[in-house]
């Protein structure tokens, strides 16, 4: 589904080289994931009262990713939001909803698109701080296990022994912890992505 982009036509793009799957993955992580907070905000505003924002976000990702396997959009941000808008419009048509107020906001949103990032040292510290805050929002047991793994650097058997639980339970907590952590970290505004 790249038609989102072509239909729009107004977003400038440069010719990009064909990318391998790994390149597309890297590109996606570097360029698209940092937009998650803004994208969620946009989708939430547009879909007030709808609980499907997470799915919409994922749908946007799939379309952007598939488009990028053919040609890397540049600049990325307007492209992502154009895809999101078109997806919302399609859905609105499908649901016979007449107006979507926030869709018109896209241009307003675009103003802040190219703000300069903070310098790298500051970002590194912010990133640490961001993860620290995210940790504090995990359920207690998941947090405990993530702290032991990521801060203390303990192995699964060590964590299991220390907490008196099975290793498989440690793994479950780790999986839950990383899942929630991902939503928190990417969903928080101002995530600069992987900090150089």
């Amino acid at each position: 589904m790249t038609s989102d982009f072509n239909r729009e036509g107004s977003v400038p793009r440069k010719a990009g080289a064909l990318m391998t799957a790994a390149d597309t993955d890297d590109w996606f992580v570097r360029e698209v994931l940092p937009l998650e907070a803004a994208l969620l905000k946009f989708l939430r505003r547009s879909r007030r009262g709808h609980a499907d924002v997470e799915d919409l976000c994922h749908d946007v990702y799939v379309r952007v990713y598939e488009a990028a396997t053919r040609q890397k959009p540049d600049p990325v941000r307007p492209f992502v939001f154009t895809v999101a808008r078109n997806l919302l419009l399609n859905r609105a048509r499908h649901e016979n909803v007449v107006a979507i107020e926030a869709v018109a906001d896209l241009d307003a949103l675009g103003i802040a698109l190219d703000e300069p990032g903070p310098d790298r040292n500051v970002m590194a510290r912010q990133d640490l701080h961001r993860f620290q805050r995210a940790l504090d929002r995990l359920p207690p047991r998941a947090r405990e296990v993530v702290v032991m793994r990521k801060i203390d650097g303990l192995s699964r058997p060590e964590i299991a022994a220390r907490l008196g639980i099975a290793q498989s339970t440690v793994s479950e907590y780790l999986a839950t912890g990383m899942d929630i952590l991902t939503d928190i970290v990417l969903g928080e505004p101002g995530d600069g992505g992987e900090t150089p």
Binding site: D25, F28, V29, L33, A51, D52, E54, D55, C57, H58, D59, Y61, V62, Y65, E66, R120, N121, A124, R125, D127, L128, H129, F131, Q132, L135, D136, R143, E144, V146, V147, M148, K150, I151, D152, G153, L154, R156, R162, L163, S171, L174, A175, T176, M178, D179, L181, T182, D183, V185, L186, E194, T195, P196
Partner: protein
């Protein structure tokens, strides 16, 4: 997409990510994981998402204070972490009191057939190939890696203020935003630039080679007396770096060279007895541990004789 599907895919992705991390991850699990990944781009994206955040979470290790064994209370680490974080944010003075005075140097090694990925706090990655030793040190001004021996692939997050420098014998490679490979064998140095830019300098004036800026595809090989530069196509470079995926890729390669390469990865060494056998060429993709696969080919395709002696395999006519 149904209302729950993004959620369930993301949960599944987290489970995969966790499983992959565990020791004993098997070929069957890898196959099942690959199948899941290729089932839908939505799966792949769910995985990229959680993998990215989980790797970045390694940054939390900066909060590690002392030997974890000292923490008996499960609640203590989080509390300490908060205190330390405050210290880190307050800046230099408070932080220094927790950190060792001198730049920390750590040594990482892989044995024969080993492969390890080091993730540095700044997001850079170093993949160590078989039989490799590196020393890593960093302070606020520089990041320095010394390749003592072996081969490593560097994927460096560039910083103008903290250059990343790799020392390997008489050569120094300075990252200018880069992915590159360096291999050091006795008397031989090789660097291949995959992406970005880097500068190669001879530290010791002997070779009298001026510093040169490398661009993608550049491969420079230096020995005590010679220095050669060539250009390799991305596919060729990718083949050369097959070890990162656990395979060795050979194209029209003499059996002698195949054997030598396999011997780097395996304690069971291959010896080729006759020069005419050594000159036979093959094209193949062989797992780095595929001594047996190789001998099967030698026997089945070339009709060669295979003889096991202690820890060696002798191949002859």
């Amino acid at each position: 997409m149904t209302a729950s599907s993004a959620r369930s895919m993301r949960e599944a992705a987290a489970k995969w990510r966790e499983q992959r991390d565990q020791p004993g991850w098997s070929a069957e699990q890898q196959a099942a994981f690959d199948a899941w990944l290729t089932q839908s781009p939505a799966h792949r994206i769910a995985y990229l998402r959680v993998d990215h955040v989980w790797e970045r979470a390694d940054r939390l290790s900066a909060l590690r204070v002392s030997k974890p064994e000292q923490w008996h209370s499960p609640a203590a680490p989080a509390r300490l972490a908060v205190a330390l974080l405050v210290a880190a944010i307050m800046g230099g003075a408070a932080w220094v009191s927790y950190a060792p005075q001198q730049p920390r140097e750590r040594v990482y090694s892989t044995g024969i057939g080993g492969r390890e990925t080091l993730k540095l706090a700044d997001g850079s990655r170093i993949e160590l190939n078989t039989g490799t030793t590196v020393r890593v040190s960093s302070d606020t001004r520089t990041r320095r890696v010394t390749l003592e021996k072996g081969e490593a692939f560097f994927d460096i997050v560039h910083s103008n203020t903290r250059p990343f420098v790799v020392m390997a014998g008489d050569h120094r490679v300075i990252d200018l935003g880069t992915k590159f490979m360096i291999r050091r064998d006795p008397g031989r140095f090789e660097v291949a630039l995959v992406e970005g830019k880097a500068r190669l300098e001879a530290v010791n004036g002997k070779a009298a080679a001026p510093a040169r800026d490398l661009v993608p595809g550049d491969v420079v090989i230096a020995t005590a007396n010679t220095i050669t530069a060539e250009k390799k196509a991305p596919q060729t470079l990718n083949n050369d770096l097959g070890w990162r995926r656990g395979v060795l890729v050979f194209r029209d390669t003499a059996l002698a060279d195949v054997a030598e390469e396999l011997n780097r990865y395996n304690t069971q060494k291959i010896i080729i007895a006759n020069p005419e056998v050594a000159r036979l060429t093959i094209g193949a993709t062989i797992p780095t541990h595929g001594v047996e696969a190789f001998t099967r080919v030698a026997k089945g395709v070339f009709g060669l004789r295979i003889e096991h002696r202690d820890n060696t395999i002798v191949i002859s006519k």
